[in-house]
């Protein structure tokens, strides 16, 4: 994963509360290998009519949403399942930032692990941005500011997550640098709580 500090791009509005992971990617698409790309699965059932054709009225299908990199939506975005495929669908569709008043916790960690920023703003501010869409915005991780024509808002982001997005860290490498401490901890754990290592069950 490569890091980033600043994104400039088109923001598009999806003024809906509680967009959960099952809507972001319906379960039936989840057996697909990632290499095939998940972008077409994004919000599949919302984007398509009962006849299976793309619904031209749906926010993300409108011409002004084309090429959008920022999605602005209402509270509790990404609630539900731990399926990281929900993040793959957004990222593969070109989205790099989602702005909302609140996010599902697991969704947020998954997002960070894939370079997608879940930017939290107060509900009133989100409403202002929604009303201004489609609009070009700049999102800056150094200053934690979102700016657009005549508007500028500070957003909240956990400092650990901010660092991770900027550096594009791969946690596995970072962790393996601590291999000795981990091994020592495991030995100690075994002593204090030997039952953590279950005895093989007689079959």
């Amino acid at each position: 994963m490569t890091g980033w500090t600043r994104i400039e791009g088109r923001a598009t509005a999806l003024p809906v509360e509680n967009i959960d992971t099952d809507q972001l990617i319906p379960a039936r698409f989840m057996s697909t290998p990632r290499s095939e790309g998940y972008g077409d699965f994004l919000l599949y059932d919302m984007r398509h009519g009962d006849d299976g054709q793309p619904d031209p009225e749906f926010a993300l299908n409108r011409p002004e949403a084309k090429g959008a990199r920022i999605l602005i939506t209402r509270r509790n975005f990404g609630a539900g399942s731990s399926r990281e495929a929900a993040v793959y669908a957004l990222v593969d569709a070109g989205i790099q930032v989602v702005i909302a008043p609140s996010f599902g916790d697991i969704f947020s960690s998954n997002a960070i692990n894939n370079g997608l920023l879940p930017a939290r703003l107060d509900a009133e501010v989100v409403e202002v941005l929604l009303a201004a869409c489609a609009v070009d915005l700049t999102v800056d991780l150094e200053s934690l500011m979102i700016t657009g024509p005549g508007v500028s808002f500070a957003f909240e982001l956990d400092p650990v997550w901010r660092q991770k997005l900027i550096n594009g860290w791969d946690d596995i490498d970072l962790t393996l640098a601590h291999a000795d401490e981990i091994a020592a901890f495991a030995e100690d754990r075994k002593e204090r709580a030997p039952w953590v290592w279950p005895a093989p069950v007689q079959g």
Binding site: V16, N18, R28, G80, S102, S109, T175, W195
Partner: protein
Amino acid sequence: MTPRTMLDKLWDSHEILTREDGASLLWVDRHFVHEGSHHAFAKIAERGMKVRHPELTFGVADHYVPTHGTAASPDIARMIRTLSENTARHGIELFGVGDPRQGIVHVSGPEQGVTLPGLLIVCGDSHTATHGALGAYSFGIGATEVAHVLATQTIWQNKPRRMRLAVEGELAPGVGAKDIALNWISLLGADGARGHAIEYTGSAVRGLSVEGRLTLCNLSIEGGARSGMVPPDEVTLAWIKGRPYAPSGAQWARACDSFLALAPDAGAEYDREATLDAAEIAPIVTWGTSPEEALPITGRVPDPARARTEAEAKRISDSLDYMGLKPGQSLTDTQVDQIFIGSCTNGRIEDLRSAAAVLRGRKAVVPGLISPGSAQIKQQAEAEGLDKIFTEAGLEWVDSGCSMCVGMNGDLVAAGKRCASTTNRNFRGRQGKGARTHLMSPAMAAAAAVTGHLTDARPLLEGRL
């Protein structure tokens, strides 16, 4: 020493180190994988890595498992096969299809004694909070994190805030753990406990069986909390003792002391506290497309015209639209097309017993599927004759798996059909494209089967509890 909460104790005993920026590296005692873990296995294969501690990792086939004999499609069969191949390749114990230990991961883990108090447990599944019912610190993670745990047996985390949720008093007959959970979620919102780890306490929680506590902790994520837990007590110990992977012999007594010591210290401080009065909790059903959209069965569907904000009005009218309901209609006037009893929320033996208490000697007027949470529960239910009660009522008794909770194995609710379901998510399309889901307890789903509409189970249970 400052008094510590249960989360503090669990956190302290798993923290290997803290990074400058505040993130902690935690030791993982147990890792469960299932068919959906294929992305993570692919990630470590890409890097040519091995599973660091296969002996602490357990595989369970559940999400795609057929409940009617054979896999519904080649794609589904492939998902199950991939799990077998990945676990075999890395020397991971698998509770696979046909194994008597198979079941839904959050049912089989506790049942086999793989889940124990004091453990840090992760799984690539959001309902991992379930295991907290036994006093574990457990939470769901995504595929990148699953790969990290496979490779290192550790996970980076920021400490969540501490929340104490007390349920005091006595539950009325016919009211259970599912009702407690949907009650607090409807009050605080589906994001109400976001960023918090919940410690459930109070006399009503202590009064719950382990099965009830598992249901309660299972639903933590539906209120936004990544984990939920109940301090271990004598009820917990009695439940765990003798399970296949639980400590035994001389180790048992030592383990018990350590388990009981997990209870929060007197005077421990929480970032947030909430209290519910158990006596005020009624059987509850969801009417919308988020678990927060729930009301007592005696209530009426809300009217968007009375919403406080425009966003809320839109949410309510969107939900009513999708669910095919009219503002202000009585919940009990809602006809259902089918029922489903099962899942990691309500597929345990007590759940089946409570559904059977309603169904005994009665006929269902709509079709329905009953899938036990594990192969062992299936066996036990059959030994108790519950399967006969279900089939004589006209319902289908099938094998164990996630089944209609998520529809991955092909057990789907058709578009536009309405299902009274004991699962945990009424999201749009969760049980199938266009499916309409009402969440409720097993007794309530059984009652809906008998009447054909959403129904208060209490009168049907009178004299039967």
